[in-house]
């Protein structure tokens, strides 16, 4: 199939998945207790039954759940209205946007570092196969896989704060809380160090493994022999022919990892009290702030789905064979 058809199919799939997420979101949060009216006006506000009924009509809550209320809700979500947080008395959307940047910073940095080091180590391990470097790298990856995210965070937190004096939580010191982040970069950097390190260590192993097995597979292909026959040195062969081919599965892995990275962020933000979406999600869970929980879930799920789709699109441009499928 042509590239266009392939992309259309991917787009269709992503949209369908988003729709499913929307339905899940809607259904689940209807099951959760709490009058939807409460979801809008807050839990502790007292209102009389008449006012409550009037509000029901006003918010369209007297209409049938499907399809009317569902469509209404979709409409609201599309306009960015995700309800009001019970615990923070603010529109959910505003809260989410405020914290989104922090999480993106953490995840982005962690991913970039783990991809960078993972690819290099994988290349090295594959090239120097069966040497101590390779064995060491493999062992490391295995153990990293079996290590719970949050536990590694706890260990690094303990070690980092005790021996290196790094902060134990938050994204900035209390003194800098109200300042915009870009003005207090050294402080942010100190706070980001440990959480980012945790993420990097955990995901590095995966990228290293994929890169290694990819390189081994590629180095066995005929065109590598052709390249050597042309008179290229090992290094030239690696850089000019092997690397690009070997990187393709890495791109796929990045896409696959997106969902897991978000999960990892939830744990890490919990351990390091890092003020991002992950911590928000967990707080909403413990405080039973359902509008916030619902909004956060929606944002996280839809982001990952869209990012996945983008990664798929990117892949089709990297691999010329995809056109021919």
């Amino acid at each position: 199939m042509s590239r266009r058809d392939y992309l259309l199919r991917k787009l269709g799939f992503s949209l369908m998945t988003v729709l499913i997420v929307l339905v899940i979101n809607f259904v689940l949060f209807r099951i959760l207790p709490g009058d939807p009216v409460r979801a809008v006006i807050g839990r502790n506000v007292r209102i009389s039954p008449q006012v409550q009924q009037a509000l029901r009509v006003q918010f369209g809550l007297d209409k049938p759940v499907f399809p009317d209320q569902f469509i209404d809700t979709l409409g609201q979500w599309a306009q960015g209205n995700l309800g009001i947080s019970w615990s923070q008395r603010q529109p959910v959307a505003n809260i989410l946007i405020a914290k989104l940047g922090n999480t993106l910073l953490l995840i982005g940095l962690g991913q970039i570092l783990s991809i960078f080091f993972g690819v290099i180590l994988g290349l090295l391990a594959g090239w120097k196969r069966k040497t101590p470097i390779d064995v060491g790298a493999l062992t490391f990856s295995l153990i990293a896989w079996a290590t719970p995210t949050f536990w590694l965070g706890i260990i690094l937190l303990a070690a980092g704060s005790t021996w290196l004096g790094l902060p134990t939580g938050g994204i900035v010191s209390p003194a800098n809380v109200s300042k915009p982040l870009y003005t207090v970069i050294p402080d942010v950097a100190r706070h980001l160090a440990l959480p980012t390190l945790t993420l990097t260590i955990l995901y590095l192993g995966e990228y290293m493994l994929i890169m290694r097995s990819s390189i081994l597979e590629v180095l066995n292909e005929d065109y590598i022999l052709t390249a050597k026959a042309k008179g290229m040195s090992h290094w030239q062969v690696l850089m000019r022919h092997a690397l690009k081919n070997a990187m393709l599965p890495v791109v796929t892995l990045i896409a696959l990892n997106l969902g897991f990275t978000v999960s990892g962020a939830i744990y890490i933000e919990a351990v390091f009290s890092y003020d991002g979406l992950g911590k928000l999600f967990q707080d909403a869970l413990t405080k039973q702030d359902y509008p916030l929980l619902q909004g956060a879930f929606l944002l996280l799920a839809v982001s990952v789905i869209l990012a996945n789709m983008l990664a798929d699109i990117l892949y089709t441009y990297l691999d010329p064979r995809v056109k021919a499928n």
Binding site: T147, T149, L216
Partner: protein, 311 residues
């Protein structure tokens, strides 16, 4: 592998597989024989001469892993915690295996739109981020006030979300088996679908299902620990994850009580690693389709040159 002795001989040669088996076995034995291995019951508070609970006491002759924030023996908590962690992991793993096999066999055997539909479902599940979805599901289920232990909820949620890799693997195996002669023959003599699946397909893929389940269990144990850490476990029946939740929430870190927050994590790594090693080795041995040609490139070429393969 056609018989057990041949299997055992090959397995014995693989050191990593043996290591994995050892790790799992020790954990299992510890869990089963917990009362024999622990001087205290995990809920006992250890008190000093004045009757005051010895909180955050470092490891000593009495307690090899010291005490926790309430004065309870960490070692005892650890060993008893194995029961919870392993049980939840195993049960969740089995549910995932069951669902995954069901989906995989159905999709592979019937093909067509059934296959398409089931694979789409699998794909959708894979794209949605796992932890947020699980947290939301757990929150919903708990709010429904079903009067079940939080552990049951966790087992269900993990089992219902982590079957995808099993489904894919089983499906591709069924696809190959489906093409083989004996299936066609069975159909020709009028055997029904259920019969064919039960008699011809299931026995062939059973070993692979077992191997894959071991891997799934390792994931389940890791996920359970995470959920427990976030506070979704049963505080009255602490798993290793719950222990870490206690440790973190009750300031073991700031108090420097490494004996409280290190061991449970190590235990998780221990068992997880064991399952991964064992599961990978089993899968390699039992899956005829797993090619490792790219990992033995030189050897492959030379065996061709040496006349052992076709050129």
């Amino acid at each position: 592998m056609h018989n057990l002795t041949e299997f055992w001989r090959t397995f014995r040669r693989n050191k990593l597989g043996l290591l994995g088996g050892f790790l799992i076995l020790t954990a299992l034995l510890a869990a089963i024989f917990a009362p024999l291995l622990t001087p205290y019951h995990p809920t006992d508070v250890i008190r000093d001469a004045n009757g005051i609970g010895m909180t955050f006491a470092p490891p000593s002759a009495h307690g090899p892993l010291g005490t926790d924030d309430a004065g309870r023996d960490v070692w005892s908590e650890l060993v008893y915690g194995a029961r919870i962690s392993l049980t939840v992991g195993f049960l969740a793993g089995f549910i995932a295996m069951f669902v995954g096999s069901l989906f995989g066999i159905t999709a592979g055997y019937f093909g067509g739109w059934i296959d398409n539909l089931l694979m789409r479902v699998t794909d959708v599940l894979l794209v949605i981020p796992d932890l947020p979805l699980m947290l939301v599901l757990v929150a919903t289920l708990r709010q429904m006030q079903l009067n079940v232990s939080p552990l049951v909820i966790i087992i269900l949620v993990i089992g219902l979300l982590y079957w995808t890799s099993t489904a894919r693997l089983i499906r591709s195996q069924v696809l190959t088996i489906k093409e083989r002669q004996f299936v066609a023959r069975a159909r020709a003599i009028g055997a029904g679908n259920a019969h064919i699946v039960r008699k011809h397909i299931l026995p062939q893929i059973m070993p692979l299902i077992v191997a894959n389940t071991v891997l799934t269990i390792s994931t389940a144990i890791l996920v359970e620990s995470g959920l427990a850490f976030l506070g979704l476990g049963d505080p009255t029946k602490p798993s290793w994850g719950t222990m870490l939740n206690f440790a973190f929430d009750r300031n073991a870190v700031t108090n420097g009580a490494w004996w409280f927050y290190l061991p449970p994590g190590l235990a998780i790594v221990w068992v997880s690693l064991g399952c991964v090693l064992l599961g990978n080795v089993l899968e390699e041995m039992l899956n005829p389709r797993l090619t490792t040609h790219h990992l033995e490139g030189d050897e492959n070429m030379i065996s061709i040159a040496a006349g052992q393969g076709s050129d």
